[in-house]
Every structure is written in structure tokens, then in C-alpha cells.
Symmetry: C2
DNA sequence: TTGAGAAAAACTCAACTTGAGAATAACGGG
DNA sequence: CCCGTTATTCTCAAGTTGAGTTTTTCTCAA
């Protein structure tokens, strides 16, 4: 998928680059901010940290940090933006081996940070049952916070207010997750390697905030080629209450659902 | 939709900001690159310019340029990223009053530009029948180039090779346009204010590169609430050949199509 | 051992949507 | 006025969906 690197330079190019001074340029910083979403006990949550240093000390914010442009005392340069996103997140919580990371959007309004012009690349990360976070540098708290405590993208009206424009980034992350559930097999990113159809339905219900018709959901999932594969095993049921033991499935190869599973419907 | 600006600063914040030196930071530059798509005589095209200065002099590239972080000799700062995108594009071609601009993705691999670490925010712009472009600063040619000449996102294999990772940006732009046609009313962004159902179908056929069933497309468009509105007028048919005069429609209020118009189908 | 309750999975059927093609309507030009 | 052409409407079989019911396979407690 890559474009094969940069083309070879002629002599003019080399002379030009030798005389190039990056410091002559306008000061702009690039950061990454990660909206890590997971489902804990049926409640969809996002990871937030509390800032212990200015600017906006004491406000809750997404895990984030400056992209390392070059090797330096802080550590080696980030080869690409996703590397920076995983690095800043790994300072807050242990990352599982299976995770879904995708770029969300880039935020660059002139006044979004009081220090200087800062352009921030937002990332969406989905993973099953992430553990309790730990407090990292520059923060004095880290928590999984239910989406419901953050208002519904209607600005800073309700619940816990967030630093900078992070409420907007969370709203974009939630909307992206909701809409990708419709036409991709992304829901499996919230689940462990083997899961039941009911667990899959509960992901849809938690993320969309709706109830779905049990039997029709079952039929639709099994009729969609490549969404799930039967493992041939049954879940062993430790808990209370009776009930037939459900089959276990794993994520299938398909990334895109044809036809999609629409939200409007039930 | 905005988050209400930054919160008020306490005295600690103010002291911190007074002592803050932006120049102390690692040198990273931020650019915007615009993939402007339009349909010319039934052929979907993208606007390309030829670079007349290093790096990669002589290669074709998307219109782009550095985001202006602060007011300076070059001009005032760009208030936000979309402003920068429109500014760099307006140096190449006259912009119509109605256009669709959306952010695509941000590209930040360490080696994507030989000068320094450059993070580029890609934009997708759609507009109906844009005029011939003009040659701007730093370029010696500007052309509307059919997508078909650029290969199909399979790297630099076929056709005209592009500078930096611009082949990838164009491929992302084309894929975004193709998939948004499915579930939004975006197709009308390629058309003038009043258009016929046939013209709308030809947009789908040009962008998707498929043929659609005439009568079924007609039925589906009219059955989708808010996609198009009848103007009550008929197109005046000057040209050759006979045929019933088609009705003229304008874009309706709906942004999202429920249910979507799927590509897989005919 | 057995029956009640529970959860999963399969089945039923009417209503709706889609794909494919045919029919009808409205035009321009000989 | 007849013909080719394009737009628009109609028909119908096949497929999909929404809603509810039935069957299967469990646990638990009497």
C-alpha cells in the first residue's frame, strides 16, 4: 500500500537540502491525542487523565503528547503517527496484543491551545476489557469514564468538562465507532478472541444505546458472510441461572459488511 | 458544535505561558494537501500541479502548502486548517461559491519528505465543473488529470507518478468519495444547483466506474426522503436527438441516506 | 428424577425492498 | 404524422426484514 519511498534526488536536490534550515520555519507543534474506547461491565468507557501541569492543570483530558520528530534526549523519533499514538497510550495503560487503532481527524484551530499553534492528530483505539490505567508523567489521575458522563457532543454542557477541544475529539470518536459498527465488522474489536452472538449483540446495544431484536440479530450475523466463524466449541457456563450453552465464534475475515447492519432498524 | 473556547487561566497558568518558548521545540512543519475532484465531460479528474522547485522538482503533486501558524510577512495566520486548504487551492483555480470540503487523513511518516519532519493534513474538495487551473508560485504547470491515469492506489506502478506520498492521498480521496456516495447525498456536490436524475446517475457511474439500472435508480432516488427536491421545471433541451424533457431537481436537505445506495448492487 | 425457569437457536409469515424487464409518455426531426 | 430517442412509470418474482412463536438445551431446586 505504500508508495515506494521518495524518488532519487538529482544534484540540485542535494544542494538544496544541504542548505535547508528547519529552524527557520514558523513554530508549530504536532501532538497526538488518543480516545481509547472499551466496554467495562456493559458500559462503554473512554480513558481520561487529569492534568497535573499547566496549561489547564486539574482538567480532565485524553492521553496525548508531542510527536517526536527526531531522535533526542526524550527517546527515539516516532517513525509514524500511529507509533506516537501507541507510545503515549502505553504510558497510561497496558496495551493488549490485539487492538484496533485508526486515525480520527486532525484539529488545528488557531486558539485551541494557549501555548502556541498546536495541531493535534486524534486517534481512536478499541480493545476488549482494558485493565485499570496507571498515572503517568504530567498527570495525577487516570480513569475509565462512561461516555454518558461526558454529555453527548453538545459542547461542555453536561458532566465532566474536558480540557482544550477534547470533548469534541471524544464526540468524534464515539460517532466514528457507532457508524463503523454499521458497515464493518469492527464490533469484534471490543471482544476477546472467542465470543458468543449474545456478547456481540451486547456490544451493539452498548455502543448504539439501543435494544436489538434477539432472533433477527442472530439470523443477520450468521447470514453475513465472513463476519464470524464458528469455533465448534460451546461456552462453559459458570454463572447462575439456566439456559442453553451458547456457541463460541471468532472474528471472520470480512472487514466490510455487505449488506450493512443499519442503526435505524431494530 | 464547538467546545466553547479555552477555559479561564489562573495565575499559575499565566506565569507558565509567559515563560514558554515555542522555538525550544523540535522542528516539525505542518502542511495541507488538497485533492480537488471534479467531473469533466463525464470523466472524474483530480487537480495536479508540476513542481518547479526542489524538492522533487518536475514531479506532479497535489496543490498544497504550509499552514500559516502566525501572522507574518507571507500573510495572516490561517484561523483553522480548512482555511489553509482553501487558500492553497485558490492559488491554482477559481473556487465556486458552492463546494464541499472535508478532511481526509493526516500523513506523518518520518521519511515522507526529505527536508524535515513534515506532517500533512489531506483534504478532499468536490465541486461541479471547475474551470481550467492557472499556474501558481512554485509550479510550472497545472492540469485536471483523469483518475484513470494515476493507477488504482496500487503504488507508483502505472501512469503518471506523483511526488512524496501524494499517490496515496489521491487514492484515499477517491475511495472516500466512492464510499460516501453510498450513504450520503454527496453526489450532488459534483452537480450544478439544478440537475436531472440522469445527470445524478452519471455522477454515480463516473465515480464508481459502473453502470446502474436506469429505472431502479430513478425509483430509489425519489423514494429516499430528502435526497432531491423537485424544482417544478424541465430542462430545456437544445442539443441533438429527441427525447422527453427531463425534470430538474435540486439537492434536498438530507445529508445521510437511509437506507443507503449500495455499490455491490446494480 | 423430574419439572420450572432461562437462555440460545431455529422457525414462520406478512410487509417491504430490490433486480430485471416491459410499457408508457414526451420530445425532435424528417 | 411516423420514427427514433430519452424520461418516467409499471409489473412481478425473488430476496430481505421486523415481529413474534417454537424448539432445544441448559441450571436449579423440589
Amino acid at each position: 500500500m505504500e508508495t515506494g519511498g521518495t524518488p532519487p534526488h538529482d544534484d540540485g536536490e542535494r544542494r538544496f537540502l544541504d542548505g535547508y534550515d528547519p529552524r527557520a520555519f514558523a513554530p508549530t507543534a504536532v501532538t497526538v491525542d488518543v480516545a481509547a474506547l472499551t466496554i467495562r461491565a456493559g458500559t462503554p468507557c473512554v480513558l481520561l487523565t487529569r492534568r497535573s501541569a499547566p496549561p489547564q492543570r486539574g482538567w480532565w483530558a485524553l492521553p496525548g503528547g508531542f510527536v517526536r520528530a527526531v531522535d533526542g534526549p526524550e527517546g527515539p523519533a516516532d517513525p509514524d503517527l500511529p507509533d506516537a499514538a501507541l507510545r503515549v497510550l502505553s504510558e497510561k495503560t497496558a496495551l493488549p496484543s490485539e487492538l484496533h487503532l485508526e486515525q480520527l481527524r486532525t484539529y488545528g484551530a488557531r486558539d485551541r491551545d494557549p501555548r502556541m499553534r498546536i495541531v493535534s492528530v486524534g486517534y481512536l483505539l478499541l480493545a476488549p476489557g482494558l485493565p485499570e490505567p496507571h498515572v503517568g508523567r504530567g498527570t495525577d489521575a487516570a480513569e475509565w469514564v462512561p461516555w454518558s458522563e461526558l454529555g453527548h457532543g453538545d459542547g461542555a454542557r453536561s458532566g465532566r468538562p474536558l480540557a482544550f477541544d477534547h470533548a469534541r475529539i471524544v464526540a468524534d470518536a464515539v460517532e466514528r465507532a457507532r457508524s463503523k459498527l454499521e458497515y464493518t465488522a469492527l464490533a469484534t474489536a471490543f471482544l476477546p478472541p472467542a465470543f458468543t452472538i449474545t456478547a456481540l449483540r451486547e456490544v451493539y446495544e452498548a455502543v448504539w444505546g439501543t435494544r436489538l431484536h434477539n432472533a433477527n440479530f442472530h439470523r443477520k450475523i450468521l447470514a453475513t458472510p465472513g463476519f464470524v466463524e464458528d469455533t465448534g466449541e460451546l461456552a462453559d457456563r459458570g454463572g447462575s441461572g439456566g439456559g442453553r450453552r451458547p456457541r463460541l465464534y471468532r472474528a471472520g475475515g470480512a472487514a466490510v459488511l455487505h449488506p450493512p447492519l443499519l442503526r435505524g432498524a431494530q
